[in-house]
Structure formats: C-alpha cells, structure tokens
C-alpha cells in the first residue's frame, strides 16, 4: 500500500502557522528574568511538532531549521541554558523565517536560504559548540541485500514482568519467522507449581534457531523493545566461539540515511489555486450540531407518524410538532452559522509583535492591552478586517502616542497605552482601538479639509464631525509621511474596507487625552437582519442596521427644491426623499408623499428617506449573491428567498444613496442649463 502523505500537508501548514503564532505570542510575553516553565514548554512543543511534521511530510529544510530551535529550547527547558534577551530575539526571528519557509513551501515556491542560514547560524551559536546533540535526522538501519545465509542461535530469557509492558514473546516469534526459517524450543523448567503459578508472569524461556539472509541487527531490532526486560544472546553458529551477551540493543554500525524528500506538489504555483479554504471547528460545536440533527430527526419521525393516520382531533399535536420543527430549524441554523465563527484572537494575536517592533523602531514606549479576545465573528469578516485593524493600530502608535520625553513633559506616564477591545453589541461586533496619546488636531484637519475643498469654508462642524473627516479621501493627519502609516493606504481605504463588510468606523478624540476608533461590523456576512418593505407588487429588504427610524410623512415637513427633488425636514436635518418606485421603475400604490411611509436610512454618513408603500415584517434573511449567475446591480447588495419561495432583493443603501445623489445632480445641472 502506498499513501500519498502530501495530502496531510494542508493540515500541517495550518497547524504550524497556528503554532508559530502561539510561539510568537509567548515569546513576546516572555520575561527572561522569571521564565515560566510552562511557557518554555509551550514554545518547545511548537518547535517539536513542526520539526516532527516537517520531517514526516518531507520538508527537509524546515525540519533541519526547526531542529536547531528545538535543541536550544530543549536545553533551556532542561535548565542547561538560560534564555537571554538575545535568545528571545533570535527565536522571534526564527519564527519569521519559519513562517516564510512554510508559506513558500505551501505556495510551491523556492525557499530562500539566505536568511534562514543566517538565523540558523545564530541559533547554533547560542547552542553549545560541544553539545552532544547533533543535527542528524533519524538513523535508519540499512538493510544489506547481499547478505550471506547465516544460522543464528538465540537464547531468549524474558524477565517475569515481560507481559506487563504489553509485550508478548509470540510477537517476537512472528517477527523472526518473517526473517527466515525459525525453530523455537520452549524451556519450562523455571515454571513454578500450578498452585503458585501467576498467569500474569512469564516463567518460560526459549532457545531459537533461525537461518536465512539475516543480519544480527535485524534480529536485535525485533527484540529492541524488550532489550531491558530479558536476557538475550544472539550467536551465529559460525562464530559460536565468540558468543557475546548483547546488553545494549541499539545497533552499533548504523548508517545514516536521510529520508527521501518528496518534491512539493505544484512547483508551477498551482498549489494555491487548488487549495480549498478550510476551517477548524471545535468539537463542541460539531457535537452541538449532531445533537440538533438528532432532535430534528425525532421531530420529523413524530410528524411522519402523525401524518400517517391523521384526524382532526390531533390538530393540536400537529401544531405542537410544527412549532418544535420551527425551533429545531432555527437552532440548527444558528449552530451552522456558529461553525463559521472564530474568536477575534486570530487577528489580535498579531498585534503584540507589531506593537513591539514598531515601538522599538520609533523609540516609543507602549503597552498593549487587549480585551475580549474570545469574542467571535465570522471567518470571512475576520479575514477582511485584519488589514484595516493593523492600519489603525499602526496609526495610533505612529501618530497618537507621543515620544517618551514629550509624554513626561505633559505629565503623562512615559509608557503609552494602546487598548484593543472587542465585544458583541446587538447583532454586531464592536472593535475599539483606544490610545492615550495626543489626540487628533481638529483645527489642522479642518484647515486641510477646507484647503482641499472637502468642506465649504463657512461650513460649521461639530467636533465629532471634524474628527470623522480623517476618513475622507486625500486627508492624512501626519505632518510627515512616515514609512509606518503613510504607505499609500489612507484612512479612506480603511473606511472603505470596513464599509464593504457592511460595517462602519468612527473616531472620537480629545486633545491631549487620546483617540478612540470604534468599528462596528456585522457578525456574519451570510445572514442579515432585514426589514421587508413593499413597493407596488415588489418586496424589498432594507438591512436593519441602516434604518434609523420609520415615520409617516407629514405634509408640512416636505420641501420642494426647484420642483424636481424633495427634502424632508427631520428635526434639525433636511434629508432627501428617494422614491423607491422611481429609482426602480415600478408602479406604486400611490405617488403622493402625504401620509405615505418614509424609512429613514443612513449610509456612508448620509441620511435619506426611502418612500415606500408599506412596511412588512422584520426577519433574518440568508444573503444570496446576484453575481453567481448574473452580475452586480447598482443599488442592490444581493437577494434572498422568502418563506413562500419567491425571491426578494436586498437594498444596498450606500449604493442607492450614491446613485440618487448622482441623478439629483444631473437633474440640477440639467435644470440650470
């Protein structure tokens, strides 16, 4: 049987990356003066596992590199060495090297040996030069095919406790008989009387003769596991005179054979394309699911029985059953969704390293506090929120936190504080990035925004609104574009990315006290809380997160603008009215605004009122893409299937507002011309 071990590589890469994250995290928290044994053990185990896996799955370079790490960590673990700051540093760099080695292996790329060699050298320098532990792979006994036929005599006297190690002489005989022609004579003279015989003890011994093309090592190998539990002599009939007691069974003349390295699949770089995204799910979640499916089956069989001989008297039972079915279905749906949920620590764990590296580089002193790392969110959301978060944290460190002397002067602790919080709020996950730095310079932001024509010179702005201007395109608050945050990715991109996930970001800041960025994201991209609205004969879904309120239109609040567009006065604000039937070319129940319904929505910081015919129910809907079989449509974010099997379209509020604005401008310019 031949098994292609490359099929396990995917799991290996995944667990290795996870392990390296854990290792990095532990190293970052490591206090070299008071090393916790368990921390070292955890780090050691990662190196150990990666090495074992890499060797097994044919990644020789990775295995060799990890071997040095493992040996160093083993020595630290065993107290032979102490971990120095330099050691932590080298180990951290080793983590980087390993990550890139693994990433390259995974992608089927050539490995870059220059850096790995350098770090390996530093690792080896840290190791004792005269250390007995050499960097060798598993020794394999080389079998000699040109072996002469030899006759061997084996005397095998097990100790009485042999069985207690789970070994059985029969096993040895089976092994021997596979080597050649074997004959065993049992010697029962030390067998005690039947009354005092303990069947769990071994009182027999054997004289065995075997002949064939067999080496002594091959025989020794069969007895390897019991070498300490028996007296064993192996003599070739020819060399009887020089019979010797074999005490140490480890073969002496072993040849070192390096395991054959299987070439990585997909040298042409196809590997990344064929790889399917996978997710690791905790057993608890799977067990939950199985339980729920079990309940569903019970409900189904109950309903099935009910249906077989149904009569009206059982109507109550039926409605109970259906209620149960509904509950089962809902629970099952929730559980399935939970499978995609991962703790945000997957993203957060990058930050200690980033903060450490960056603060060293900038000469700042920063402490990072993270709360709510176990808060869960959808895997897809998680994958996309990483970069914006990194950007915001870098930004806080670079522009928010002041240099130590500056902080001292302003009466603050030298060590700046960056706090990352994550928690659930309603159907959203909220992530906060808080720094106790100097805060945003609102006057400067406003000045810049005016200079760029982003806001009118006489426009009056509330403080919060000014701060939110930093998310406008083309506005960077840094006086000098540093290579830290000013990488061409501005805050506008951060906001855009967050928006594309259906979330939003805002900032609150106080001069001299610091800033707080708050990101709100939907927990999942697959399900949406929606408000169903009716326009003419069509049903649309408005995402509940976009809805501010719903109101009945009062005539006195309607304002006509040039007879073309209407604004609605909403307390202090004036918001444009979007007639959905017009936007979508439908025939509505009524075209008069009076006494109609206005759904006030917000998207991209803009408010507008959607004029609809009727408000229907609120419900959770499963988002289906229009693009799978069709294409993206302006003003729509997708579709869903309602309870009656029909398709309802989901509104993309931001898109809708943008196109309404465009057409209003076109109309306005048309009117002017």
């Amino acid at each position: 049987m031949s098994i292609d071990i490359s099929q396990f590589l995917h799991t290996f890469f995944e667990e290795s990356f996870e392990g390296l994250d854990a290792m990095e995290n532990n190293l970052l928290h490591m206090d070299v003066n008071s090393c916790d044994v368990e921390e070292i053990n955890t780090i050691f185990r990662v190196a150990h596992s990666v090495k074992g896996g890499a060797a097994t799955f044919g990644l020789k370079a990775v295995a060799e590199f990890t071997h040095s790490m493992e040996t160093l960590l083993d020595q630290i673990r065993g107290g032979e060495k102490t971990l120095s700051d330099e050691g932590v540093d080298v180990l951290l760099r080793s983590v980087d090297v390993l990550r890139s080695m693994l990433a390259n292996s995974k992608a089927g790329n050539e490995l870059d040996f220059i850096e790995s060699e350098e770090i390996k050298k530093r690792l080896d320098e840290l190791l004792d030069k005269g250390s007995s532990k050499k960097t060798v792979m598993k020794p394999v006994v080389e079998r000699k095919d040109d072996q002469q036929i030899t006759n061997w005599e084996i005397k095998f006297i097990p100790e009485t406790g042999l069985f207690k190690s789970g070994n059985d002489p029969v096993r040895m005989f089976r092994g021997l008989s596979e080597l050649g022609i074997m004959e065993a004579t049992v010697n029962a003279e030390s067998l005690p009387d039947f009354e005092s015989l303990n069947p769990e003890e071994c009182h027999l011994s054997w004289d065995i003769t075997i002949s064939g093309k067999i080496s002594k090592e091959q025989i020794a190998e069969i007895f390897e596991w019991v070498a300490d539990d028996c007296k064993l002599t192996i003599t070739s009939v020819e060399e009887e005179a020089t019979a010797q007691l074999v005490e140490n069974m480890v073969p002496e003349d072993v040849k070192i054979v390096v395991p054959i390295v299987k070439p990585m699949p997909g040298k042409e770089g196809r590997a990344t394309q064929t790889e399917s995204a996978s997710i690791r799910v905790s057993i608890d979640k799977v067990d939950d699911l199985i339980n729920m499916v079990g309940e569903l089956v019970i409900t189904q069989s109950m309903l099935g029985q009910l249906g077989q001989d149904f009569e009206m008297s059982k109507i109550e039972k039926l409605s109970d059953g259906l209620a149960q079915l509904e509950r089962n279905t809902r629970e099952l749906q929730e559980s399935v969704m939970r499978i995609r949920m991962l703790p945000i620590s997957f993203v957060f764990q990058r930050f200690p390293r980033i903060v450490r590296d960056l603060s060293t580089k900038l000469g700042k002193k920063v402490e990072l506090i993270m709360n709510g790392e176990s808060t869960e969110l959808d895997k897809t959301v998680m994958e996309k929120i990483g970069d914006p978060l990194v950007h915001l944290v870098r930004n806080s460190l670079d522009h928010g936190i002041e240099m130590p002397e500056m902080r001292r002067k302003s009466g603050k602790d030298e060590i700046g504080l960056i706090t990352l919080n994550a928690f659930h709020q309603g159907g959203n996950i909220v992530i906060e990035i808080i720094d106790d730095g100097k805060g945003l310079d609102k006057a400067k932001i406003l000045e810049k925004a005016r200079a760029r024509g982003l806001v009118g010179s006489d426009e009056d702005f509330g403080d919060d609104k000014v701060a939110d201007l930093i998310f406008a395109p083309g506005l960077s608050t840094a006086e000098v574009v540093s290579d830290v945050s000013g990488r061409g990715v501005g805050m506008d991109v951060v906001r855009k990315n967050i928006k594309s996930l259906g979330g939003n970001v805002e900032v609150r800041t106080e001069a001299g006290k610091g800033s707080r960025f708050t990101i709100r994201l939907p927990l999942t991209l697959a399900i949406l809380d929606g408000q169903l609205v009716r326009v003419g004969e069509e049903t649309y879904i408005v995402p509940l997160v976009s809805i501010i309120e719903t109101l009945q239109i009062k005539k006195k609040y309607i304002n006509d603008i040039a007879g073309k567009a209407q604004m609605y006065r909403l307390r202090e604000d004036y918001i444009p009215i979007i007639r959905l039937y017009q936007s979508f070319g439908l025939k509505p129940d009524q075209e008069h605004l009076e006494n109609g319904l206005l759904v006030v929505v917000e998207g991209d910081g803009q408010k507008a009122g959607l004029f609809v015919d009727d408000l229907l129910s609120q419900q959770q809907v499963v988002i289906k893409s229009l693009e799978t079989n069709f294409q993206k449509v302006q003003g729509l974010s997708g579709a869903t299937i309602l309870g009656d099997g029909t398709v309802a379209l989901i509104l993309d509020i931001s898109g809708l507002l943008a196109s309404a604005k465009d057409s209003a401008q076109m109309q306005a310019s048309g009117a002017a011309a």
């Binding site: 069509e538 289906k624 893409s625 079989n629 449509v633 302006q634 398709v647």
Partner: protein, 174 residues
C-alpha cells in the same frame, strides 16, 4: 466569421457533441421559427411563473427566480433578439440552461414560445449561418441545420448573457 469567433464554438464541437459527431438538440419555437440548443446544456424546462424583476437592467432581463435555492436570471429571448414581445400563454416555457463564461459556469433561464422536439443532428449537417445585413443579429447563431425540410437555427447559449455586452449595458444604464 464563425472561425474568427471561436472560444465557445470549440467547446461545442469538442465537449458537447458526442463521440460519433452527432449531437442531440432540443428545439423550441420563437416567433414561428424553430431554434435548437445543445441538449447537454439544458438543465430543465419549467412553466412560466412570476419572476422578481431586477431594477436598472436591460428590458430582456425579466428578473430572477429561485431555482432550489439558487438565484437564476430569466431572459426573454424575443426581447433579447429584438423581436416583438407577446403575452405569455399556456405554452410559454422557461428553458433553464447552463452556460460557460470566462469566470465559470452559470445558470440562466430563457423564455420561449414553446418547446418542440429533440433531434439528432450530425456535425456535418450543421452549416455556417449566412452573412446577413448589419441589422440581423447573428451573434447568437451557431449554425443552421435542415431537418425534415425545416430549417433549425442552432443557438450559441453562451452568447445570451455575453459579459462584454452586459458590461456595456451596465454602463448605459448607470
């Protein structure tokens, strides 16, 4: 003309036609003419049912339906071909087709006046469509075949929702 416009043609002759060079075609009626589509592309035939219209799309996109959990667009083929549209009747059907695009395989439904027959047509029986005037739309035509004195127009289903064209349409609408 046809040889220049390859791509989809290749997949027809190579993948969809049986080994003996003979393919089965489902034919349908549209404004009195008989059209054929490769039967291997046909997923199912459904009666006409209401669709959910999609705003801001060309008029030939009738809307979308729920096909066992998948959102499938429905194209009115008369409108698509620039013919006079008629009221849908009892024979009106939706033929659900699998098409291939650059991005992969997609599903779409076409509304036709009615289904007709299934014919075996050999590759050599298929003639290239004649050159016609500018106004006649032959982009959708893959070839012509004559069965029992009748002319059957074989359709290139991949061209019905041609992406390039859709992109242009999208711009015009937006």
């Amino acid at each position: 003309m046809r040889s220049e416009n390859n791509g989809s043609d290749v997949s027809y002759s190579a993948a969809d036609t049986q080994a003996d060079g003979q393919g089965q075609y489902l034919t349908f009626i549209l404004a009195g003419e008989e059209y054929g589509v490769d039967i291997l592309r046909v997923q199912e035939i459904k009666g006409w049912d209401t669709v959910t219209p999609i705003p801001n799309t060309p008029s030939y996109i009738k809307g979308v339906i729920n096909l066992r959990g998948t959102i499938v667009p429905i194209v009115d083929l008369r409108t698509r071909f620039g013919m006079v549209s008629i009221e849908y009747g009892p024979t009106t059907v939706v033929i659900v087709l699998r098409t291939t695009t650059v991005t992969g395989s997609t599903i779409l439904g076409i509304v036709v006046d009615g289904v007709s027959e299934v014919y075996n047509i050999r590759q050599e029986e298929i003639k290239e469509p004649p050159q016609m005037g500018k106004e006649a739309d032959i982009r959708f035509v893959y070839g012509l075949a004559t069965i029992e004195e009748k002319m059957i127009i074989l359709m290139d289903v991949d061209q019905v929702l041609n992406e390039k064209e859709m992109a242009v349409v999208e711009k015009l609408v937006a």
